[in-house]
């Protein structure tokens, strides 16, 4: 029954979408759940030209609109994945496009050129309600596309000094994508710069935390000098700078406080050191990883710095995360910090993001806060809240109709719109499932697709 409804809904919306962009779609009988709200609002969402034109109670259905009956289903904004590799990886061990191993390129590395909308990973993430993602370079130490499972025997060599990776103070620049079909997936490039701190930061700087800060300050000073004296630099009449010209250029918006710096830091003392650096140098900061952020919550809140975290991490995985706790998100929320919640791994298990939000709630976060942490907060943090992150007029029609509570494993998406276009509720995984569902067919599965 539910299955039929889903098919019907998808079919209806698909018709609407293919009927040209001018078509107006009204999703009625919906329970609209916007970030921050404790309870859903009964109402409707009206979509035109890929944008939301109205959402909420007492929204009338425009004449001539295609009507989609949500039948009381919960409608949320599409989720915004952070620390993502979506579109930049197929199979992790085969390779990805978030990690640069040349020593000549750091800050200037830009993920926007790699994005592949045909990735089979994308539909799997989308079925988890994700409609946009912040594709993030992987910093030394693994943040970015962190946490892919490695069962492997690779652990036989883990912990050994890594000589394979280039050592960079700056891992490169992130971009926001939308998980729409078709070629146009880039929503906004150059949304943030990534840098490792703590153990990983020490490593890129030659082995000690103090060294990284010296090198960073030198780099920042060099960027400012370069910005002031471009002409001299171009004439080769200038002193040597610590970074390549491309990296210097890329860092100008960072030192000017326009482009945020994603600082991957976990230990409380490292977080404090990064906060001080950002204050001294007037940098715009985003904390990522942040296992012990709860211990620094008042300072983080006072500085107005947002935090990206994975709420399932509660182990002392290193001496930097001795204070890791499942209540990190809840405690930061209570202190007034803007929190964004990530999925498990940058791509293949990104769809577990909604479960992670539920786990944060199970451990004390408010439901409204957890929804914000997977929608409007990441949108704000990365400067795309004018386009995505909530169901408000003028924003892109990126939304999901759910069969139930969106954080529950037993709930499924019934309709997914990206820029107003219905996305197929399919993935290669489901194709495989259906191919092998009946093993007694006379013809081999190879003939079934």
């Amino acid at each position: 029954m539910i299955r039929r409804l889903a098919v019907l809904l998808a079919a209806t919306a698909l018709t609407a979408a293919t009927g040209a962009n001018a078509a107006t779609v009204a999703i009625v009988n919906a329970r609209i759940l916007n970030p921050g709200a404790a309870q859903p609002v009964n109402g409707a969402v009206v979509v035109r030209d890929g944008k939301i034109v109205a959402a909420g109670a007492n929204v009338a259905t425009p004449a001539g609109a295609q009507v989609v009956d949500a039948k009381g289903g919960i409608v949320t904004p599409g989720f915004v994945a952070v620390n993502s590799m979506l579109g930049a990886v197929e199979v992790s061990s085969v390779g990805d496009d978030v990690d640069v191993k040349t020593p000549d390129l750091g800050a200037a590395f830009d993920v926007q050129y790699a994005l592949n909308p045909d990735s089979v990973v994308i539909p799997v993430a989308r079925l988890g309600g994700i409609t946009s993602a912040v594709v993030t370079p992987r910093a030394e130490g693994g943040q970015g596309g962190a946490g892919e499972h490695d069962d492997s025997g690779a652990e036989a060599t883990s912990g050994a000094p890594s000589s394979e990776n280039a050592h960079h103070l700056f891992a490169g620049q992130a971009a926001v994508i939308q998980l729409a079909r078709g070629s146009d997936m880039l929503l906004k490039p150059k949304v943030a710069m990534v840098s490792p701190f703590g153990d990983a930061g020490a490593k890129v700087a030659g082995g000690a935390r103090g060294a990284e800060f010296v090198l960073l300050k030198e780099a920042i000073e060099d960027v400012r000098a370069y910005q002031r004296n471009r002409a001299a630099y171009e004439r080769a009449g200038y002193r040597d700078l610590s970074l390549s010209r491309a990296d210097l250029e890329a860092l100008i918006p960072v030192v000017n406080g326009q482009m945020p710096l994603v600082a991957v830091a976990n230990r409380a003392s490292d977080i404090r050191a990064v906060l001080k650096l950002a204050k001294d140098e007037k940098l715009k900061l985003i904390l990522s990883g942040a296992a012990e952020a709860w211990r620094v919550a008042p300072e983080i809140a006072a500085a107005g710095v947002p935090v990206i975290l994975n709420p399932v991490l509660d182990r002392p995985t290193s001496f930097e995360t001795l204070g890791a706790t499942l209540e990190n998100a809840a405690r930061l929320e209570a202190a007034g910090v803007t929190v964004a919640i990530e999925g498990n791994s940058g791509a293949h298990r990104a769809h577990e993001m909604r479960y992670n939000a539920g786990i944060a709630v199970a451990n004390g976060m408010t439901k409204g806060g957890a929804l914000a942490a997977v929608t409007i907060n990441p949108a704000k943090i990365f400067g795309v809240a004018n386009r995505v992150g909530s169901l408000e007029p003028g924003k892109d029609a990126d939304l999901v109709i759910w069969s139930g509570d969106p954080f529950e494993p037993l709930s499924k998406p019934q309709l997914i719109l990206v820029r107003g276009e219905a996305q197929p509720l399919r993935s290669r995984q489901l194709d495989l499932r259906d191919r092998y569902r009946d093993l007694s067919r006379p013809m081999p599965p190879g003939y079934s697709y």
């Binding site: 299955r3 197929e90 199979v91 992790s92 061990s93 085969v94 990973v121 892919e148 499972h149 490695d150 069962d151 492997s152 025997g153 652990e155 036989a156 883990s158 912990g159 050994a160 409380a268 012990e292 211990r295 399932v312 991490l313 509660d314 182990r315 002392p316 995985t317 290193s318 001496f319 995360t321 001795l322 204070g323 706790t325 209540e327 498990n344 791994s345 791509a347 293949h348 298990r349 577990e352 479960y355 539920g358 786990i359 709630v361 199970a362 954080f407 529950e408 494993p409 037993l410 709930s411 499924k412 995984q429 489901l430 495989l432 499932r433 092998y436 569902r437 093993l439 007694s440 599965p445």
Partner: protein, 486 residues
């Protein structure tokens, strides 16, 4: 007074455990050599200690003792028994560390501590068939990397228990997730990774304090990418999947030969003939244990085609594969696995980190079960082990999306009864049936909800975890003195 009482109970419980260990222990084949020595000559001198593989098959015996506990009655809960039943307003009685009774509205006999479980759910303690806790403990530093003896494709001679650090904080976190028993395995770098060890999830000073009394040994084997990458990368065999298979077969040939030599030796001794004993070989001892059916094969294997080949190898040499692990393609050969009575231990939605795990489907477990097979959700991960119930919920959801009417009562078996079967301990744990160990998890709601957490965990009837009482939240030595903790 109360303390004395609980000590007495504990003694009682350990007495019954010892009895159980005795009855489940296999008769040692070596014993027959003295009994049937009818050749007329003087009985041959026994082999020096340590040289006869059959003389002592348990050289690192369990010193497990249940936590102190008293008879307890959990009253008024929704009970998932692990046998496929769901009981509303259920009562679970635990007496002397064992399940005494489970039923709807049972009267509580005198002398029981009563726990009001109304509005809560009760399941058997969860069992994880694939963990590396202790062998890859937290913090994950090189000094703690003790799970892969990646120096040779065959290291059947190593035993995971000799790497287990009982102070891994992960054990405590897993207990807070309702896990009461777990199999700790070596890693998968090698074709034969070594023996696993089945543990009671109680804090121990030594690994022997945690060993599940009477649980059979297991052997970790691995297919596919890992062995060929690790050894191919070192310029040696196996460098390909066909090299993997040649490696398994060569090892089983050696094991069969070794077994024959010992059998010949024992036959000669039994006849009173003069005989030189073969030299004991720890690697071959383990493989012979598999050939004799005493050691269970736990086989890391992702792809369907490779699993089919492993089944053929097992038939060629006459052993049984108890479970395939990871097995993200089990759904492609669910019929074959069911026919051969091999469990499939997998995740719901882990995939894509390497090519051999590219064909995962979320409905893998429901599809295995629908074909009549033994389906298991396991963690292979110190974070996921804290949430096996949620991974099972995701599998249940995938099954329901296919129109399968999978109930919670059925799905709970993926993390309780079926794992018990795969570890050879189903007579002791995995369901809430009278006589079984009192391993019980009390949840604050439906365990298949993302919002539900384990409230209390009993192991052999002793309270091992209580979310609301710090006295029952064990901390490892490593966690002490860390002022930054929580």
């Amino acid at each position: 007074m109360k303390r004395v009482f609980s000590v007495a109970l504990a003694l009682l419980a350990s007495a019954s455990l010892a009895a159980c260990a005795t009855t489940t222990a296999k008769p040692a084949p070596g014993k027959s050599q003295t009994a049937s020595n009818g050749g007329g000559g003087p009985p041959p001198a026994p082999l020096p200690k340590g040289l006869d593989p059959a003389a002592n098959k348990d050289p690192f015996p369990s010193t497990y003792r249940p936590l102190p506990g008293r008879d307890v009655a959990l009253v008024g809960a929704t009970v998932l028994t692990g046998t496929g039943a769901q009981i509303e307003n259920g009562t679970v009685l635990i007496k002397a560390g064992r399940i005494a009774a489970v039923g709807q509205g049972l009267a509580v006999p005198a002398g029981y501590e009563t726990v009001d479980a109304r509005g809560k759910w009760i399941t058997p303690g969860l069992i994880d068939t694939h963990s590396h806790l202790g062998v890859y403990p937290s913090p994950e530093v090189q000094a703690h990397s003790d799970g892969n003896e990646a120096i040779d494709p065959n290291t059947a001679q190593v035993w995971a228990e000799h790497s287990v650090w009982p102070q891994d904080p992960g054990f405590n976190l897993a207990r807070a997730g309702g896990v009461t028993t777990l199999l700790v395995l070596p890693g998968s770098a090698n074709l034969f990774g070594g023996r696993g060890v089945t543990l009671r999830n109680v804090p121990g000073r030594t690994v022997q304090d945690m060993k599940f009394p009477g649980a059979p040994y297991t052997l970790k084997m691995a297919c596919g990418e890992n062995p060929k990458r690790v050894y191919g990368g070192k310029g040696r065999s196996p460098a390909t999947r066909m090299g993997n298979v040649a490696g398994y077969r060569a090892a089983w040939i050696n094991a069969a030969d070794y077994m024959r030599k010992w059998d010949d030796y024992r036959a000669k001794v039994a006849r009173g003939d003069k005989a030189d004993p073969p030299k004991r070989d720890l690697q071959l001892d383990t493989l012979v244990g598999v050939l004799k059916g005493e050691i269970l094969v736990e086989n890391h294997c992702y792809r369907a085609d490779e699993m089919a080949q492993m089944i053929d190898i097992s038939k060629e040499f006459g052993y049984r594969i108890t479970a395939f692990h990871h097995t993200v393609e089990a759904y492609k050969i669910a019929d074959l696995l069911a026919k051969n009575d091999i469990c499939a231990a997998t995740w719901t939605n882990w995939w894509g980190s390497k090519l051999e795990m590219n064909d995962s489907v979320e409905a893998n477990v429901p599809l295995v079960e629908a074909a009549g097979g033994c389906a298991i959700i396991k963690s292979d991960d110190p974070d996921l082990i804290q949430r096996l119930n949620q991974e099972a919920a995701e599998a249940m959801a995938a099954g329901r999306a296919l129109g399968m009417p999978i109930t919670e009562a059925q799905a709970i078996r993926w993390i309780t009864a079926n794992p018990a079967k795969a570890l050879g301990i189903a007579a002791e744990v995995g369901t809430l049936e009278p006589g079984k160990r009192g391993d019980v998890t009390l949840w604050d709601g439906n365990p298949f909800s993302i919002y539900t957490r384990a409230q209390r965990v009993w192991i052999d009837g002793g309270l091992a975890y209580d979310r609301t009482d710090p006295r029952f939240q064990a901390k490892s030595d490593f966690e002490l003195g860390q002022e930054s903790r929580r």
